[in-house]
Symmetry: C2
Subunit: 592 residues, 2 copies
């Protein structure tokens, strides 16, 4: 049975040594002293390890059951959910006006990594509620906020997002769900939505569905889409729950993973809905949820890899098999532990160097969201907007890759469900698909974000890399191990961008055929930048006489691994990109 | 529900245009005229599509059930197995002396790809029997052959291989299963074996277990391991079945995939066993099975990718979502099919170019096995021995990667079990693990095969590549698209080999830390060679006035894709290898 230990020290390193959060002039960040963040992270870590993680396998095995219109979550989920609510863990960064704790987003992200690594399917109930909270908070009327937010902050009511229909996922312009205006200003919503995570369950008193639908008589396609609040139970004027609304669960999907989360087909049959935001501007409002969700999904990707990695390390130290070719390490035992073997280390170092880079990248992004939201930093917003598809696409592709790599360490036992490693891979797999499949993230990055505001944000990104290299040059060993590889990778990325500019004008397919590789290159450069930052921070700590030298030396060694063994992928991606669209588009559809 | 159509034309292309099997002077190959192979492959294809494929989802959903010591296979498996037996499909390449059809191995492999793509879990029952047949055929006494082979050829009795124990997989020297010699020359076998595919089931009258065990008083470790025939029912002198032997199923494992195959814990309690081959030389005898099994597993890897790919193509042509950025392709419909989008094509071309290259690679290997076994060609044997770990490791890693890539084309539907795409990924996953996890294949390649016979085989391999390039130079377009990339990739591979030679002497970890990357590089060079061969064959066919120009032009275009977009991976692998072992081995075991 797998275990999970919150990597609090690694998180503290990113928050304090690398990002130096408490020194930043972002409102609320002055609270983020190391003793405060460690207290929060330790406490969250206990819940993750002791409450959520033991339910992970239970959720996978039992799944959710639909009986007479009621969805039963797995044994223990409700009690754990109540415990999360009571501890205030559902609302760390929510607005205190509605009962939240008002902490910076970056801290909520760190805690979210722990809960997600411990039990991804479980944490989605709260995560989706947070997304719906954010959309109502950003776009709701004062009355809507007063009605829904306090109960959503406390998770007495949970939330969902309803986009997909059987015939339309990415292309929401094809949507058929209708909204018929009523005399009292409300709408009657009718249609079917699929893949609705946490669409129905037994852990909250009410469920607040945010539903995309077309108002009758509005514009065709995506321009006619609006967003609606559709509560499971109508909320009466006094805030109490009234009658059951015309929304019901049609079925629960049987999925490859995240069995503990109920993925529902939701049927809307003249359900009462309330317009959220402006009519026909539903996509804008929904994107408030989606951008947050995309960062959350990127986090899910690497968090599953982290949980899988921790167990792979335990197994590699325990399992005796073969001998170290350079001499026995466990001469009195029948064999040496797996971890002596170079290829096992290669595998574990791939995982470790990715996961720690991914964490720094995600926290860096969360920090910029705080800079934008709390300190009106538009430049930070520009970078976040640029890197959101990279966080989502790259971290989930690699997260799945490394969750399976961790499973591989177990050999045959990795394939047996009882050992729990298969679940990490199966759960991680969805992160590459939902909230916009990763191909759509690549399209968003190359087709939209690169050129946004005249390419301002990508230029700002390259400037960040360039300045960092310039400011930190001078130490030969550090330059060779960290800065030179980063410089080379960044040059590859710029060359790819240049290729798109020069060839994408003539034929956009030359850019789009390389979009997926570009997303991966971009991810590598971001993680390379993070490792350069972490390597520098670790060197500084050692220079300043930090006592835990082994910890910082491990950071430097892990960073060197990433730079030497992962960053060279940019060259391959560049070669693929520069081969253009011709070989990609050569075949007739019938020739595949 | 997925479908499967046997790619007979693609197989014919490899057999006749590329390998030119019927023109080879290998005994039995003169029968392999195109009209004969197409008749066999068409007939097998019908069984694959109509009998086996429809049972694939059934097997996944129902799994195998253990009730009172009896294992029930999924609904329909027994009837399909009987149909296979009646058609003689279980013994295509078996020795006619024992009832086999005596066809070349290369044809059996082509048929095996079809059956495996249609239903991997099902085909394993027959595949393991074939492996056990081969071991007894190679190492058994005449009496053993006469007793067991006819019934195994007909699959009235099936076979298994029993290696793994709870505490030992790769390191079989740790084995605890004991063999106590009896006065009549037999042995009493006692111990527990795990992960025994097809260990117990209801489709055959008897099960012939091949079991590794240590004869009491023999040498320590791997040198004391012998191989035994342990039938489920003792076979009487007249060939009829006698009493139940002391072997029983302890439990069936719950696995991530291949649910239709019963993976058993087998308990041996003083079971009667008969020595197969020489005492204490069990590993040598077992390797007869393992080498065959490893090629079979490589085939499973790309066959799952093929089945998944076929369905991804159907979905990409059916599913309407978004518009071609260069102009609507389905202007009268609400949207264009997915296949218009460059990133969908990038994904499908990755899959297609890999699968077809993998098929050619596997058939090429099978052809060399025939050259060795039927025409005593030692050079061919040397190459097969070298590439066996590459076929196993590279084709299964990529097979899994592309099975999940095909799943990705389905978006959210790919994650829902009902659509069947998850099964391809879950089934393919085991191929990376069993018959020696892929890290062990890499170790076998770099630690053993490279230096075998003074490096003769790897030098012969490079000579094959070099000669091919030399003999086929002259056409500028072909050189640029095919030969130059192959030359560059082959150069990378040689540079890696050189790095191992120069640095592995000082410290073997410098070679072993790069073994996995080397295996992947080697795979790419092999597939590059195959595509160069296929490109040339297609050009020749067009020059010779072949009527189906679209087919051959598609081959050339697909080959160009592989050369431009897949082969550049060798540069990345070389960079990883040349970074050496230092970053890989830097950490203490406690620092992971």
């Amino acid at each position: 049975m797998p275990s999970y230990t919150a990597p609090v020290k690694d998180m503290q390193f990113v928050l304090h040594d690398v990002l130096k959060v408490s020194a930043q002039t972002v409102p609320g960040y002055d609270e983020l002293e190391a003793n405060f963040t460690s207290a929060v992270l330790d406490e969250a870590g206990k819940i993750a390890s002791e409450v959520l993680q033991p339910l992970n396998v239970v959720g996978d095995k039992e799944g959710c059951k639909l009986e007479n219109g009621v969805v039963r979550t797995p044994t223990g989920f409700k009690a754990a959910f109540d415990q999360m609510k009571e501890g205030g863990w559902t609302a760390l960064d929510c607005n205190p006006e509605y009962g939240g704790q008002g902490m910076p987003y970056v801290l909520a992200v760190a805690v979210g990594e722990q809960f997600t690594a411990a039990n991804m399917a479980f944490n989605m109930y709260q995560g989706l509620t947070h997304g719906a909270y954010s959309a109502i908070h950003a776009h709701g009327t004062d009355a809507q906020k007063a009605t829904y937010l306090p109960k959503m902050v406390s998770c007495d009511w949970t939330g969902t997002m309803n986009l997909t229909e059987p015939h339309c996922g990415t292309d929401l312009g094809l949507m058929r769900t209708k909204a018929a205006p009523q005399n009292d200003g409300s709408y009657k919503i009718s249609g079917q939505k699929i893949f609705i995570s946490a669409g129905e369950h037994d852990m909250s008193d009410n469920i607040i569905h945010l539903v995309l639908a077309k108002i009758e008589g509005g514009p065709e396609g995506i321009k006619g889409v609006s967003l609606f609040i559709v509560p499971k139970f109508i909320v009466k004027e006094d805030g109490s729950l009234g009658e059951r609304n015309g929304v019901s669960v049609g079925s629960i999907e049987e999925k490859m993973g995240i069995h503990g989360n109920s993925t529902c087909v939701m049927n809307y049959d003249e359900a009462t809905g309330y317009l959220l935001g402006t009519e026909h501007k539903g996509m804008r409002a929904m994107f408030t949820m989606m951008n947050e969700a995309r960062i959350g999904v990127g986090l899910q990707g690497y968090a599953q890899a982290e949980a899988a990695y921790q167990n792979a390390v335990i197994y590699a130290n325990d399992r005796l098999q073969g001998r170290d070719v350079t001499g026995a390490k466990n001469p009195d035992g029948p064999a040496d532990p797996l971890i002596v073997h170079p290829d096992i280390r290669r595998n574990l170092m791939d995982q470790k160097s990715f996961i720690e880079g991914a964490r720094a990248f995600t926290f860096w992004g969360a920090n910029m969201i705080d800079q934008h939201v709390r300190a009106d930093d538009d430049a930070a917003h520009g970078i976040v907007s640029l890197i959101t598809p990279v966080i989502k696409g790259f971290l989930t592709d690699k997260g799945f890759e490394y969750a399976t790599a961790a499973q591989q360490v177990y050999g045959g036992h990795g394939y047996i469900e009882e050992w729990g490693m298969s679940q990490f891979a199966r759960d991680a797999r969805i992160t590459q698909i939902y909230e916009g499949a990763n191909g759509v993230q690549a399209l968003d990055l190359v087709g939209r974000k690169l050129a946004q505001d005249g390419g301002k944000h990508v230029m700002a990104f390259f400037e960040i890399v360039k300045s960092f290299i310039k400011e930190n040059s001078g130490n030969e060993e550090y330059e060779k191990s960290f800065l030179d590889p980063l410089k080379a990778a960044s040059k590859d990325l710029q060359a790819a961008g240049m290729y798109f500019m020069q060839n994408g004008m003539k034929n956009p397919n030359h850019a789009l055929a390389g979009s997926y590789d570009f997303m991966h290159m971009f991810g590598h450069v971001c993680l390379g930048l993070m490792w350069a930052k972490m390597g520098k921070a670790a060197m500084d700590a050692l220079e300043n006489g930090a006592s835990d030298t082994a910890f910082y030396e491990t950071k430097i060694a892990t960073g060197k691994y990433y730079m030497a063994r992962q960053l060279p992928a940019t060259g391959m991606h560049l070669a693929r990109i520069e081969s253009g669209a011709d070989t990609v588009m050569a075949l007739d559809a019938a020739s595949f």
